[in-house]
Symmetry: C2
Subunit: 238 residues, 2 copies
């Protein structure tokens, strides 16, 4: 193994049963396991860049990766976040076109890289894998349609509360007093990019929302208190 490389056996992968790879049988899994390359990545790195040819796909083992798109004028936004157990870069594999966005590492991440040719082999022998990829694509599509619709109809405030809820669903827990808590994995700047707002606006928003008493911020640690119940009423408003 080269410098910086890790090894991980796919058979032991915690996300094996929740990703498209569950379509593989034991032999195929073993094949992937020895052919993939696992690496650790630090925040600021990119797994691939917008415009790069799709030389393979990545399976995120741990950490958080953001998909960022930059337009011709340099405006960029985080289209979505991908956590452990997510396969990314497969769209470029399927379309045979360059990557449409940049996969930027947001928190320390380990990811497995699987070469294009190996994916092709697997797909040609195992049609169920193809169905899984299709399903994944359909899910992504549906999710981004939701995001798009929200961006057209809801205010920055509502979208901010919504993303807090999403984080809570994925990472939330109850503290010793039964209070719902979530530890935000990204910085303000990235939150802003995700929502299409300015970092300064996020700061103000936090102060205001806190004043309304529905939640409490402590750096990245958020206590959601009764936000959980109130969501309905606060989200109606634009």
């Amino acid at each position: 193994m080269n410098r910086g490389e890790l090894f991980h056996n796919c058979a032991d992968c915690p996300s094996r049963r929740t990703t498209e790879w569950r379509a593989l049988n034991a032999d195929e899994l073993a094949l992937v396991s020895q052919a993939k390359r696992t690496r650790a990545h630090e925040p600021g790195e990119a797994l691939y860049h917008q415009g790069d040819p799709g030389v393979g796909i990545y399976c995120i083992q741990s950490g958080l990766v953001g998909l960022r798109r930059t337009d011709e004028n340099g405006n960029s936004s985080l289209l979505r976040l991908c956590a452990a157990g997510t396969t990314i870069g497969y769209q470029s594999y399927l379309s045979k076109e360059p990557h449409k966005n940049t996969a930027e590492v947001l928190t320390p991440t380990t990811a497995c890289f699987i070469e294009r040719s190996l994916v092709s082999n697997l797909l040609s022998t195992n049609p169920r894998l193809g169905e899984r990829f299709l399903q994944h694509l359909l899910d992504d599509m549906s999710a981004i349609e939701d995001d798009y619709a929200r961006s057209l109809t809801l205010s920055v405030k509502s979208r901010f509360l919504h993303t807090l809820m999403v984080f809570y669903e994925k990472l939330g827990y109850r503290d010793e007093n039964g209070q719902p808590i979530v530890e935000l994995p990204i910085k303000r700047m990235e939150l802003a990019d995700l929502i299409g707002a300015q970092p300064a606006s996020i700061s103000r928003l936090i102060r205001k929302v806190q004043a309304e008493g529905m939640l409490k911020f402590n750096d990245r640690r958020v206590s959601l208190r009764d936000l959980l119940n109130r969501v309905g009423s606060s989200m109606v408003a634009r």
Copy 2:
């Protein structure tokens, strides 16, 4: 044929070569041709509704159809427009889930309906058709990612100008003086829904943009004059 039904031979369909159906051979095409049902639809109708099970797919022969999504609070927006030669409803076919949005007829439209079971038959015998559907999905995905990114980074004004440009690319022509003209196929209200703005804002925007001299509105007829050249500079600004 029932009341209101039309007949159209797929072999003569102008969009035969540009849609996924080009994957079909003559026999398959003949099969579709006699099994499909072609109908005329008036504005205000819906080809299918959000939440309906996907009983089949539609191929738009002429006219304009909008895909609208409504959230749990009743906020709705037009996610995108589909013109002649577009197959819609296939996502629900592929995912086996109910339709995620409503296909609402915006201008007089004729569309062919193809039953779910027929699509299944074709897909099982012709794998290339499946590839075409996959490609279509990838294209839709890429397009909506672009739209989403634009909604996060650009102002209502910029997005308005952008959609005008898109209409011009699809429907535009030069008048007798060589001026670029486009006849908008939808009303202000729908334009607003498409952009995530209020009709009143669109009106004001039109007045302002007109004052800046880059284009001229005459009801739905728009003369784009030198907008075409200036696009670069006007789109940079948020």
